[in-house]
């Protein structure tokens, strides 16, 4: 993938060293004046001459930069190869630095000192360790005189964005308890009999019924053929809410790690739900708030993954307000409401508490204080535990330590009231 061609911006300036040369010259002149002695002036001669002769080597060249990035979408932990083709109209000494934002250059180098005769290629690989948007470019090229008293900085090329999507986790074992179902076959138990796996009841045999469904014991008891009925499994709507706000209690790195875990979980849930044919929507609360209406398919999955890649900790607007206003608008009653929140905000817990009677609510709470020793964190952990207990009375709450397997935490939380097949579970 080549970056679009764009003109280079050029700026000329005196360097710090150039200023030091000038300052030194002035200082020596002042010294000579103060001492009323011309002898220190001899020291200014080489300074002036070096600066003057250095200016004679002033480079006059026209530079061009083309950037080629291997891919513009990756998963956290991937590598992306970048090639930079730099060409000059004349031989010139140039210092090249290609900007890499949110990525580690581990193979090759994004900067180099070049004796550029014609064109040169600079290639490197970026390790995209974390979810987010990695920006590559623009390239900064510095031309200067030999002593580098002046420099001419060229900024070339538009930045290329590489979306680093969240890693996917094993999100099996989370039951869906939604009682709202759509018309398409899925994995959520409906109130109707039909094709499925869960036992619904026994009825009299009708022509066309499969023989393998005949319940021979019941038939013997009733004296006529009886068949087993199953609960029909259908799709549902789900809204995933990711709370990346109010993380000021954590350090920047801890907050980012927590949000990474939340994004990974949301992406995994969205993938499983969409694969099962459900409609999935998304509400994000972070530095930028965003919401997506529930929809089917790959395009929706892509939209969700891109939105999660952009998620950063922060709090522009309170989530409880968004939840109260948006949820009835986005989600049908009795559909699945999945909140991924560290439960650091009592107002968010209160909003979920109010939504619980109208929806099948599942709260997955990544623990932001695993093995904390500080008293403040212990107090916060106790407050969080209280919120979990309070919410546990109206919905299922999974207390999850990021890094540990989610299915184990889900088993501890128990099954939903109306249990259906696990997400992507038993049958896959």
């Amino acid at each position: 993938m080549r970056s679009p061609q764009s003109r280079c911006r050029k700026a000329t300036r005196v360097t710090a060293k150039g200023t030091l040369y000038l300052t030194l010259t002035l200082a020596l002149l002042l010294l000579a004046t103060a001492l009323e002695n011309l002898r220190p002036l001899a020291l200014t001669v080489p300074l002036a001459l070096m600066a003057g002769f250095s200016s004679l080597f002033h480079p006059k060249a026209s530079l061009k930069v083309e950037r080629e990035v291997e891919k513009n979408r990756a998963v956290a932990g991937d590598w992306v190869r970048v090639k930079l083709l730099i060409s000059s109209s004349e031989p010139v000494l140039v210092e090249v630095r290609d900007r890499v934002h949110r990525g580690w250059v581990e193979r090759g180098s994004n900067e180099s000192l070049l004796w550029l005769q014609g064109s040169e290629e600079l290639s490197y690989e970026v390790h995209l360790q974390r979810r987010g948007v990695c920006e590559l470019g623009p390239a900064r090229l510095v031309l200067s005189d030999p002593l580098r008293l002046w420099e001419e900085e060229w900024v070339c090329g538009e930045p290329v964005e590489v979306y680093v999507l969240p890693k996917l986790l094993a999100a099996r074992g989370l039951g869906l308890g939604a009682s709202y179902t759509g018309v398409w076959p899925g994995e959520v138990l409906s109130r109707r009999s039909g094709k499925g796996y869960e036992f619904y009841g026994v009825r009299e045999y009708a022509p066309g019924d499969e023989l393998r469904r005949v319940n021979w014991r019941a038939s013997a008891r009733h004296g006529k053929l009886m068949v087993n009925e199953r609960v029909e499994e259908r799709v549902t709507d789900a809204l995933i809410v990711v709370d990346a706000g109010l993380l000021g209690l954590l350090s920047a790195q801890e907050a980012e790690e927590l949000v990474d875990a939340e994004a990974s979980l949301a992406a995994s849930l969205a993938l499983h739900l969409l694969r099962s044919g459900n409609r999935v929507g998304l509400v994000l609360r972070g530095r930028e708030s965003l919401w997506l209406r529930p929809a089917f398919g790959k395009r929706q999955l892509e939209a969700i993954l891109y939105a999660l890649a952009r998620l950063e900790p922060g709090e522009p607007a309170p989530l409880d307000y968004a939840l109260n206003m948006l949820t009835p608008y986005l989600l049908k009653p009795n559909a699945e409401f999945i909140a991924i929140t560290p439960l650091l905000d009592a107002y968010v817990a209160e909003s979920i508490f109010q939504l619980a009677p109208n929806y099948s609510v599942l709260v997955v709470s990544p623990n932001p204080f695993p093995q904390r020793e500080r008293t403040a964190h212990r107090i916060l952990e106790i407050e969080r535990s209280n919120l979990i207990v309070k919410l546990g009375k109206v919905c299922r709450v999974i207390d999850w330590s990021p890094g540990s397997p989610l299915p184990r935490a889900a088993r501890r939380a128990g099954r939903p009231a109306r249990f259906s097949r696990t997400l992507g579970g038993a049958r896959s």
């Binding site: 000329t12 005196v14 060293k17 030091l20 000038l22 010259t25 002035l26 020596l28 002149l29 002042l30 010294l31 000579a32 004046t33 001492l35 009323e36 002695n37 011309l38 002898r39 220190p40 002036l41 001899a42 020291l43 200014t44 001669v45 080489p46 300074l47 002036a48 001459l49 070096m50 600066a51 003057g52 002769f53 250095s54 200016s55 080597f57 002033h58 000494l93 140039v94 210092e95 180098s109 900067e111 180099s112 000192l113 070049l114 004796w115 040169e120 030999p146 002593l147 580098r148 002046w150 001419e152």
Partner: protein, 162 residues
Amino acid sequence: MKRVIPSALVTVSWLALSAALSYNAPAPVTLASILSTIPLFAGATMGLRPLLALAFTAQLPALVLASLESSPVRAATAMLTALYLTELADLLARAAKMPDRGYVKEAAKRITAVAALSLAVTIGATIASESLAPTLDPRIAAALLLALAFLATHWAKRERER
């Protein structure tokens, strides 16, 4: 640490210059001059350019003293040598943090050319000015040089912008 041998050569030359400058100089000046080799070497090998400015500043008292006590040609040559060595060390310092593809060699050639040209003109200019020196008022000379430096800077800036 990169390019230890070139850095060591520059440091040894710097040490020799320090020894030459601080001969018969007062102890503090000698000490500062000799000790300036440490930041010079550290700056060149580890890419810490501010250390080079520190090394040059430590060498400055010895240079000023040399200009007051010895001939202008000798002082100017010493200054030129100090500048040349600092520039080479600066080049090595820049190359310590970045991969080099022929830049250092070419830049070193150009710095050497600039220093050689400067040396030739310095010797000529200082010898020529020695005859004028006793008759010139230092304040007038300083004002003239100041104006000259300002004009040169202005001219160079206009050239760049063009």
